[in-house]
Point group: C2
Amino acid sequence: MYDPTKPYKHRILKLIESTWRTPYVSVRRGIYPVFTKKFSDSEIQHTDGIGTKGGYHWRARTFRSAVIDALAMNLNDLALVGATPYVLQNHIVLPEDDHEAILKIVSTLSAECRKYKIAMTGGETSIHSDTEGMDISITVSGFVKKVRTNRCRPGDVLIGLRSNGLHSNGITLVRKVLGNMYLKDCTRPTAMYLDTVLRLLKKHDINGLMHITGGAFSKLKDILDGADARITFPARFKPQPIFRKIFEAGVPSAEMYRTLNCGIGFVLSAPQKDAVHILKVVPGALRIGEVKKGTGVVYIRSAFDGAEIVI
Amino acid sequence: MYDPTKPYKHRILKLIESTWRTPYVSVRRGIYPVFTKKFSDSEIQHTDGIGTKGGYHWRARTFRSAVIDALAMNLNDLALVGATPYVLQNHIVLPEDDHEAILKIVSTLSAECRKYKIAMTGGETSIHSDTEGMDISITVSGFVKKVRTNRCRPGDVLIGLRSNGLHSNGITLVRKVLGNMYLKDCTRPTAMYLDTVLRLLKKHDINGLMHITGGAFSKLKDILDGADARITFPARFKPQPIFRKIFEAGVPSAEMYRTLNCGIGFVLSAPQKDAVHILKVVPGALRIGEVKKGTGVVYIRSAFDGAEIVI
């Protein structure tokens, strides 16, 4: 838990407590709070942090965006199993004991938790004098009312949801290729897809769902179930300028689509009938391809140079 | 979750799956596993990492000890509410993509999880090129059959359980005072108190429990409930030599007991009758003082220079 000798401990505890009024848990206070669930569904836990991107957020002091990144990385993965998040723990690593930064991080996270009805059940702040960056890692638990398999089916339409730029992966590649510039691109927060996905799952058959993060489009292989994905982006779709800059700096299309989201942060695989409706109602949703009988391969027509990539 | 492009992903997933046979959860496999609990008690979540100590473990390649540290920091805190751990998530941060280190960490953690019947429900490995250290952070959930208040009562005997040296706190102070030497002292793992505490709670009244970590003996104030703690260590008790070295390097007694465990890693506050039995059956248990009516102050007679410290 938070170090009791720190002057900001009580403000942090107040912020954490402000998240405990959710419909999903009741709390018994004490030296550590004990939570009792108000439901008995299956559940999933998930952990993710902001990795190398933390260094950029630290230098730019974009703490709000850093929190959104950490939260979105977790909640978007929960969306893959249609889980509703209800409790989380955080772990904040900073190179120095910067009270303003810690309070900004915890207060942003508390506000987001209240919005999503997630009880923040605790966390840890750790000062690492041997790091130059910052990390915010979150572990979230979600409950699952109906356990579904996540598998594309031949005949499905592939729908891409637009990303907000780089999100939280491939930052090391960007730094290698473009140097330490592009602070704005490297601090823009990850888009949140959970709400959209949970809403769609209530009304539609969606066979496959994938969050395009580390490993990028190669992640689709985990849900292809022996079918092939054939991806051709519509002509009107342009990846954000930062992706073109990276491509033009010499990164081949195959590596682009294996490492970066290239403008698409989430992929849905749905039967034709459902896809038509989803494409109509979700802003920024694009038809990017289809699923065919095959051998579990991802084919992509690159939006950068038209090359056909096989992943 | 683990990056699918990494060659060690499947070995890691196998290790994680090896922890899923516990009496506490059942698992439905999928792109993310979904867990259903076999009980419906209250629960607690807890997150902690190894902080600055990670840098020492990385340089000494003492990965096994690093895992024990991360696990003990969490499980010992769970002991404060008498919780039984049943699922955990890990977050491993390394300065480089060292496969051997990652596998050693996950295999040690899997083995410990099997021992404690904890299902490892996932985790994340993150390579931070801007850190020189290493961090292993764990989020663990425990269930609580009987929610107890954690409060010392006047008349209680204070019992100290011996530490295994520095444990995972105050490493920054050690480095400031003694420099970067003492690698052995800075990589010795944290003692595990959970088993002992859970066993004692089944048979004994124990009013107060405290894990002596960040903040050291000042943490006792959180459970004093307006009473005073009066601590005098028995003459035969000697803190480990590393503590004497730090003291002799010029750290005053008051700072020693506010920052370091000084040989005592866990404190129990129990009625006289229970204390007598606990002191008999627990190896390394020492009577270190008593609880008196007062104003919530911790008085310590320093084992280093006999000074009376007020915290």
